[in-house]
């Protein structure tokens, strides 16, 4: 089981409180589609996502970005059992959505970058270490039902 120090718990909560899901969610997903264009294949029903301008203006990308980031809330509130928290979501991404689990890491990286852009120096090295640890546990949990 993942061990969290008190400092790590409070760091994750503090970062979570400072970010606006409705802004960071769309931004993180947009970054994934722009920086790693092969991920466009998962969003065939979203219309035009084939240029940065299109991605940034796409309402479905924005809406879905919010959905994805809201789902992180469960992990923030259940840090001691992230794996069980995401078991169903993992199965969904594997069996129904057929998402290559490598993409979870790409999204995690883009979330971190979006958070860094917003928090700037407040995301100091220790905070970055904790936040990345948190996201890597989430990524592992999302991959856990793949086989």
């Amino acid at each position: 089981m993942v061990e969290w120090t008190d400092k790590e718990r409070s760091t994750v909560s503090a970062i979570w409180e400072k970010i606006d899901i409705d802004v960071i969610g769309p931004e993180a997903l947009a970054r994934v589609l722009i920086v790693y264009p092969w991920t466009e294949r998962y969003f065939g029903t979203f219309g035009d996502i084939f240029s940065a301008t299109a991605v940034l203006g796409n309402a479905k990308v924005a809406a879905h970005g919010k959905v994805v980031l809201k789902a992180l809330d469960s992990a923030v509130k259940n840090m001691d059992n992230i794996k069980a928290t995401y078991a169903d979501l993992s199965r969904l991404h594997y069996e129904k959505l057929s998402v290559d689990p490598d993409n979870f890491k790409l999204l995690a990286d883009c979330i971190t970058i979006a958070v860094a852009c917003k928090l700037k120096s407040a995301l100091n090295p220790q905070a970055q270490a904790t936040w990345q640890k948190f996201l890597s546990v989430v990524v592992d949990a999302m991959s856990s039902q793949y086989f």
């Binding site: 947009a30 722009i34 970058i113 860094a116 700037k120």
Partner: protein, 147 residues
């Protein structure tokens, strides 16, 4: 050979022309040592690296961070032949320094986060894509001479 669009070239030149080497270099290297602690093994003669505060305050870390960042200048000035530009440095890291090439990616990730935090909303998805592409070519070139 790597193809660069005009936007990508301009973006890289722009970021580096405004770069504060003595701030960003140390910030990136110290983040690497804090977030990925196993990298400390390469800096046995740097003195106190026992905790984040010590790393961030360590003058040898700061000096080396600046050196590394200036090392990127050659790639910025030779974007059409980064592989040849770093051939010797790659040999050095493989044969003398024995650095696991996976670590180049870790440092480039930390550098991306520092630049993101500095540029804030100016670090758009397009800019992120160009910067990460540049760093990926650098990372690949540094690992090229390993055997």
């Amino acid at each position: 050979m790597v193809e660069w669009s005009d936007f990508e070239r301009a973006t890289i030149q722009d970021i580096f022309s405004k770069m504060e080497y003595e701030v960003v270099g140390p910030a990136a290297l110290s983040r690497c040592l804090v977030v990925y602690p196993w990298t400390q093994r390469y800096f046995g003669n740097f003195g106190n690296l026992y905790n984040a505060a010590a790393i961030i305050a360590n003058p040898l870390v700061a000096k080396h961070g600046t050196t590394i960042l200036h090392g990127l200048d050659r790639a910025v000035k030779n974007m059409d032949d980064i592989k040849a530009t770093y051939a010797e440095l790659s040999v050095l890291h493989s044969e003398k320094l024995h650095v696991d090439p996976d670590n180049f990616k870790l440092l480039s990730d930390c550098l991306t986060i520092v630049v993101a935090a500095k540029l804030g909303k100016d670090f758009t998805g397009d800019v992120q894509a160009a910067f990460q592409k540049f760093l990926a070519v650098v990372v690949s070139s540094l690992g090229r001479q390993y055997h």
